[in-house]
Symmetry: C2
Subunit: 541 residues, 2 copies
């Protein structure tokens, strides 16, 4: 017999959960003490599941520790990844006293987790932990939250439990597949696919490309993919744009939109007088799979049903941009990344306004994964990079983060240094909440005064990310010229371990008027010129 903490950890390890991101307090001390008795790795901090395809555990300190993690757990929920939260609570008999840290943990957890359980006694802990892992793995993958009272952890009387046998998800029904195959055969180029989550890896992309090549259908990818495999040798898909004004133009002209593990696209926010639901009125949306079904198997069945089994997918050929020169800007930084990205890299992309050109410049780079801001809660770029590097210690990780976003979770740099993770961080330091300067205008807020502007400005005082990074043990360099940026990037990729580049770039949107956006995007090469013209006509007639 073991105490609860030991049985819990052994149960997690039995179920394949061997990594725990911890930020413990007193109520979790028995769990912490038990870490040494099992083959479990403890690191202080989130993003692991996207790359490892299995859950990591988190160890959090009561409702307030959960609160501190809530924004990134929201992103994880929207990313539909598996995760097991272990949340320490007061001893069962202590809650009646409403001590300082007492709060309603289950209520807070409801926002990020449907499966929530408070284990009432030690003998039940291992069974609850095994169930938590099974629920987290799904299908569908999700966050399971196990609340662990301190006495349940410290008391004896527990045995580790074996892992549940994983469930095998069914594919979409034959009727659904046949019906969609008919739509594709009949409507051809008037059909677009919106690919999400589980079909954005090589097997799903190849299957989708076979259908596209056979039928002339268009392939889109959801606006903020959990994990997108792309680059040389993989089929290329066009991401739906963040700006609803652009997204509605991308989707114009299609009669059918087939959703594969993705939701019908909606505007990120509502704007006065603009549509929230972005599927055109005369376009029908169809879902190939439900969340509990096997997305890849369903897509492969569709390949067969449209007779594309022998069709060759359209694979991206190698293509690198030239190295940029002169004064650095966000576009040139993206160009240099396209020119220098090492093979097999993982990009954690929270570059916000500064990353608009990244997809174009890296399209033909060596094969890589892109992890994005799935839930819109900024401050995800560094933690996701940290988690990805923990899951894939042999792959180079590149975190691209706006200066505003970076400040939310800048502490992750210390954990990256502590764990010696191979993460190169680029801060796009334009000294403003660039995106909010646009949003202020998009919502139709008029007469923008100095007090409002000051809320979006990060230049007083300017933030020195080199100094901050070095203070947390991460070597760093500031660059303001394209040549220096490329040199820093080369150096960072040439050696293992953490490195940060503080890239001083002008705000891309200084003084931007929304009606100039299509022209600017077109000039940047993000959208083809006819699209820009169409947008211009729509939003600035």
């Amino acid at each position: 017999m073991a105490n609860g903490a030991h049985a819990l950890i052994q149960t997690l390890v039995n179920a394949g959960v061997d990594t725990c991101f911890t930020n413990p307090g007193t109520s979790e001390m028995h769990f912490v003490a038990a870490l040494d008795d099992a083959d479990m790795r403890g690191v202080l901090s989130d993003g692991y599941a996207r790359m490892a395809d299995k859950p990591a555990a988190t160890l959090l300190h009561l409702g307030c520790g959960l609160g501190n993690a809530l924004a990134n757990l929201h992103n994880a929920r929207k990313a539909r990844v598996p995760m097991v939260n272990i949340i320490g609570d007061h001893a069962t008999y202590h809650t009646q006293y409403d001590a300082q840290l007492q709060s309603d943990i289950e209520t807070v957890a409801k926002n990020i987790s449907k499966w929530i359980k408070t284990t009432p006694k030690t003998s039940q802990l291992a069974a609850d932990a095994a169930e938590a892992v099974a629920v987290a793995k799904g299908p569908p993958a999700q966050i399971a939250t196990l609340i662990l009272p301190a006495d349940v952890s410290w008391n004896d009387g527990a045995e580790p439990a074996q892992a549940h046998v994983p469930a095998q998800p069914p594919p979409a029904s034959d009727a659904t597949v046949r019906a969609l195959a008919d739509v594709i055969k009949k409507s051809g180029k008037k059909v677009a696919f919106l690919l999400g989550n589980r079909v954005l890896r090589e097997p799903g992309l190849r299957a989708a490309s076979q259908i596209a090549e056979k039928s002339g259908a268009k392939l889109f990818c959801e606006v903020f993919p959990t994990r997108l495999e792309r680059g040389e040798g993989l089929p290329s898909v066009e991401r739906i744009a963040y700006l609803a004004e652009l997204a509605s133009v991308q989707l114009d002209g299609y009669d059918h939109l087939i959703l594969v593990d993705a939701k019908a696209p909606v505007s990120f926010f509502a704007y006065p007088g603009k549509k929230s639901y972005l599927v055109p009125d005369d376009c029908t949306a169809h879902a190939l799979v439900q969340p509990h079904e096997d997305a890849l198997a369903s897509l492969r069945n569709l390949v067969e049903a449209v007779g594309a089994s022998d069709t060759t997918p359209n694979l991206q050929s190698a293509a690198r941009p030239a190295l940029p020169k002169g004064k650095l800007n966000a576009s040139k930084a993206c160009q240099a990344i396209g020119a220098l990205l090492p093979p097999n890299a993982i990009i954690s992309d929270e570059a916000q306004t500064s990353g608009i050109k990244l997809p174009a410049f890296t399209a033909g780079a060596p094969r890589h994964d892109v992890l994005t801001l799935t839930g819109g809660a900024i401050g995800q770029g560094l933690p996701v990079a940290l988690g990805a590097a923990t899951a894939c210690p042999d792959r180079p990780v590149l975190a691209l983060v706006g200066d505003g976003s970076a400040m939310y979770t800048v502490q992750a740099l210390w954990t990256i240094a502590r764990e010696g993770l191979n993460v190169t961080t680029v801060i796009f330091n334009n000294r403003s909440y660039g995106i909010l300067n646009i949003e202020l205008e998009r919502v139709g807020a008029e007469k923008i005064g100095p007090e409002a502007k000051a809320q979006l400005d990060l230049s007083e005082p300017a933030i020195d990310f080199v100094s901050i990074a070095q203070g947390m043990g991460v070597p760093a360099r500031r660059v303001a010229r394209a040549e220096d940026f490329s040199a820093a990037l080369k150096d960072a990729f040439a050696s293992r371990g953490p490195f940060l580049i503080d890239a001083i770039v002008p705000s891309e949107y200084e003084g931007l008027k929304l009606k100039a956006l299509p022209h600017m995007l077109s000039a940047l090469g993000s959208v083809p010129s006819p699209v820009a013209k169409a947008i211009k006509k729509k939003i600035a007639p």
Copy 2:
């Protein structure tokens, strides 16, 4: 007629809420744009209400922005201060689409706020805002949360509302006051008071001291006061200790404990085999006032009932320790603070294990306020200092923060620099979660291995707070000798504006065994030696 955002801000200003701590996103852009039209001050960030005795507003971005603020809102709830949260939400018609940032804001808010309202239409917004401020002001003071859909904010059709007329809280009933006066008259030195929240300012302390002088009753202060006025010329009260082992000794021997706006003391956490409720078995706890009653008026009625109206309170005389010499440690840093604290200072105390000697060394310093970690959610020290400095721009603010705590909200340094706030920050940099090294042993966790120890260690890599502070625009200096610490403190107090001292101190508890604690505390001078002996007998027989 105005749009919702303008009417909201004018309503807040009408009700005396003229300060807003903002961290906005797209859904709050109309509020941000409206800031310039009203006489309201916008600063990016919490702690204001403790010093201003009126609510500030916060402006937060949906459920995730609320999540990021949740730990410090928990501390604010436990501090029982007034506060109005304005939380931007998606437009009413947009929530059906479950866009990226969609979450259940009301559920998250339940943890920190009983009054929660989502305003459904623009014409109702000003009335809701006026109600929110009235509820926040109380009595009892509390957090009111107003959820503001974006379209309710941007639509026209609102008029600012006038502030509610404040409620006048009643005093405790005459029967209660008479009954407690009888207890005091009968039991004299066997009576102890536990003073909290609203009676820890000069008027409450003087009244309590009159009773103590008259009757021989003992005065205690709750373990984590929201705001305690102390120093030369004020009655001195003994704070209940954080360690339950010490607190139970402090309370030993009293037959009656009279609670004045304080809760009966309980252990911060439960520990195996130790009591959670710290009032001795043979001691009766009595509450003088209920939360909705006037605590100060009730205490003054008690003064009269015990016949102490003409009794002179016992006031602390001026006393400063000598300046310390030699290698710096936490105790010497507290000594130097006692020697150099300027008049009228505000201390935000999150020094944790490093601050044990602070109360003794500052007891006879010039009059000052102490703000403490009311809810136990660490990462409060810097934000509370920021809020206090905003409320009291003419007073020097001293933030005392452990290195582990400082990293939770280190971004506050940038806001302090941006606003030019007169905050001197001392980081007690012992490179470990010192308190957790104790807690690991207190919970009875045995066989502490290297993996467990590593979770509590902050030395790999060592954090350079000078570098981090400078990176955020705060001038800073590192010191390792007592003389240098004093010099840095003098310099910081001599000029206005932000300054940070990275005080390198050994961990006070390196290798500590719990049974050595009473001896060590006694040696440090925190508790008188007979008390230490009693504890030793109790916990390490």
